[in-house]
């Protein structure tokens, strides 16, 4: 186990380095024009551009520039997204602070949505698997097919139009000024400002999960060991919930870990439609304004979260399925 974790950690570092290097090339080096000029804005003197070039280290060779960014990936106080390199070209604020302001919002959005889609998707999947072919099953699968085919931005607008504009039941969301940090995000959630974003994000995933659970459970219920469970005289309820679900839900854990990891890196469409100042929104802003330290910061944060989610999933899997061993 220890050796496995060390190997996985080393692998994680490699992945993050590759991601960061590609991001560095794509967003810092590839765009046309002088990055120093892009950084300082329109009306500037050549002197100012030179100053910016020095301040951002853009006069140094490529590998030193990358090295400066790379040091910021070390999760250590003073190094982790350090202010000397990671500050916004737009606001000159440290990227770290910007991120920590936005993380609670994205986290509340992602985790809340995940809870909703699990609470919807798993029971619907189970129901339609055990009542296969019934009216309920058909209804559930129509729900699922709509969910997987509907673009999220469209659903989000539709929800906004209906529940905020027409019915005036729910706030349009957005986070009021003064709602800062975790307390602010939770307060906004308590006021219902996350309900529409949660539902938009959850529906598509609930549909996926319902289909996956249904498929897995139907497949599991055809296994020989289910026949054995029945031959013991167990009740059908116990056969389904103790023997069937155990096999059917294990892959769901894998999916969930990766999906939540992905969302924690920013749910940019939902955040944009509902005006939530989360990570995804920041990423889009940063890319469109050529604010490449912020782009680097967001990308690395995302890569980090996904790499950790992967690791957590793999370790959890070995606990859930005794046949899996760390090798």
């Amino acid at each position: 186990m220890g050796r496995y974790l060390i190997r996985r950690a080393l692998f994680m570092i490699l992945v993050i380095m590759i991601v960061s290097f590609l991001t560095f090339l794509i967003f810092v080096k590839l765009p046309a024009g002088d990055p120093a000029r892009r950084a300082v804005g329109r009306t500037t003197t050549p002197e100012q551009i030179e100053n910016a070039r020095k301040a951002f280290g853009l006069d140094k060779p490529l590998y030193i520039q990358y090295w400066r960014f790379l040091k910021g990936f070390v999760p250590w106080p003073g190094l982790w997204l350090n202010d000397q390199v990671y500050f916004s070209y737009g606001s000159f604020e440290p990227v770290r602070e910007e991120l920590s302001r936005r993380i609670p919002i994205t986290a509340v959005l992602a985790i809340g949505a995940a809870v909703i889609w699990l609470l919807l998707g798993i029971p619907i999947g189970i129901l339609s698997a055990i009542k296969r072919g019934s009216l309920a099953d058909r209804a559930a699968m129509i729900f699922a097919i709509i969910g997987v085919s509907m673009p999220i931005f469209w659903l989000a607008q539709l929800l906004l139009y209906t529940f905020w504009f027409k019915l005036e039941l729910l706030p349009a969301s957005g986070i009021p000024i003064g709602y800062t940090g975790w307390a602010g995000a939770l307060r906004a959630a308590a006021e219902g400002r996350f309900i529409l974003p949660w539902v938009s994000l959850a529906y598509i995933n609930a549909a996926f999960y319902a289909r996956m659970v249904r498929g897995n459970l139907i497949e599991t219920m055809n296994e020989d060991y289910i026949r054995t469970a029945r031959s013991k005289g167990l009740s059908e309820r116990r056969v389904i919930y103790k023997h069937g679900l155990r096999g059917a839900l294990t892959p769901v854990v894998t999916m969930l870990g990766l999906d939540v990891g992905l969302l924690l890196g920013g749910a940019f469409i939902t955040e944009t439609v509902f005006g939530l100042p989360g990570i995804g929104q920041l990423a889009v802003q940063a890319i469109s304004t050529n604010d490449f330290p912020t782009v680097m910061g967001v990308t690395i944060l995302g890569a980090f979260i996904i790499a950790i989610a992967n690791l957590v999933v793999d370790v959890a899997y070995a606990f859930l399925d005794p046949r899996v061993r760390y090798t």
Partner: protein
């Protein structure tokens, strides 16, 4: 003859499918005495497994049209409500399956899986059930049973898993044990061990056993009576000697001739039964074996032969006259063995 323990009368199991009605079992009758071992032999698709799964109540009226009667201790199992059937299934009639690799739940420990069966039918504590499970593992010759009970199925070998299945099936001291191809998935050496184990436990637990197999060689030593099934029906029924030394049905002849022999001097080609098992949707008219039968004559493609007793309870379903059958058997079949 004593009151039979289990009596199956004219059992029919027909599965409605999109392609038509699959007549998996089409009128099967047999009885099982206490302490008897009955072999049910036939090819894939002859209905041997489906008939016993139906006896276990594992094929439900939802899946198939079931008719006939299955009497066990004076009750017709086919008419029992689900909940009452569950008190019999696993406790009084239990079953082991073909593939021990997939028949145990991969996520639960072996001891738990056995004790779960015990707890379902007995009002005892979890710990007592686990002790019983460990004792059962010991009785099926699993070394260090206490440790083994705490392991997962993937840590067991194939033979050990089948032993664990047997331990589970016998843990409630059932009256009938149905073994559905218990050795098909195992090595030859392990096969013999498992069959010997079933034999031994049968007398220890005083149970009657039904062994389902496609291999006449397997059942020879272990069965009292044998039913040969073909196309969802019984082709021949008799005691082991009848079936091996005085077989009366051309299908049984084919099965016996197709067993490869080690004592043959020169290498001979295997002697298969020509053709394929019949479609269970479009069952051939008359005797379902007639398209493959080298001895077919006039009535075979028109009339369905009945399973008629020849002597004692030896019976065969074939239109040939007894004299013809005995002549063909002695001259053409047994002469080659």
């Amino acid at each position: 003859m004593a009151e039979p323990l289990l009596e199956v009368k004219d059992l029919k199991v027909h599965f409605p499918t999109d392609d038509g009605l699959v007549k998996a079992v089409d009128g099967v009758t047999y009885s099982l005495q206490p302490g008897e071992t009955l072999g049910i032999v036939g090819e894939s698709g002859s209905g041997k497994s489906v008939s016993s799964l139906t006896v276990m109540g594992l094929i439900t009226p939802k899946q198939a049209n079931i008719s006939g009667e299955v009497f066990f201790q004076g009750q017709d199992l086919l008419k029992l409500p689900k909940d009452e059937m569950r008190t019999i299934r696993g406790a009084k009639i239990s079953m082991i399956f073909q593939d021990p690799m997939t028949s145990l739940h991969p996520f639960y420990k072996v001891g738990f899986q056995i004790s779960e069966a015990i707890l379902q039918h007995q009002d005892i504590s979890k710990k007592e059930a686990m002790d019983q499970a460990v004792e059962m593992l010991a009785r099926v010759n699993i070394p260090r049973p206490r440790e083994r009970a705490d392991q997962y199925p993937h840590e067991f070998s194939g033979g050990m898993r089948q032993r664990a299945m047997i331990a589970m099936a016998l843990s409630l001291n059932p009256d009938v044990l149905i073994a559905d191809e218990p050795t098909t998935a195992l090595d030859v050496t392990v096969q013999a061990q498992i069959l010997d184990l079933i034999d031994r436990l049968k007398s220890e637990f005083n149970a009657a056993v039904i062994i389902i197999t496609h291999d006449l060689g397997v059942v020879a030593e272990h069965c009292d009576n044998i039913m040969v099934m073909y196309g969802g029906k019984a082709a021949e029924f008799g005691n082991t000697d009848d079936i091996y030394y005085k077989p009366l049905h051309p299908y049984t002849w084919g099965l016996l001739s197709s067993i490869p022999r080690l004592d043959e001097e020169k290498q001979e080609r295997l002697n298969p039964i020509r053709g394929l098992p019949p479609s269970l949707i479009l069952v051939p008219p008359g005797c379902s074996f007639h398209p493959r039968c080298p001895y077919r004559f006039d009535p075979c493609d028109k009339d369905v032969p009945e399973l008629l007793p020849v002597d004692g309870h030896h019976a065969a379903a074939c239109h040939l006259s007894l004299a013809d059958k005995e002549r063909i058997r002695d001259e053409e079949v047994l002469a080659h063995r």
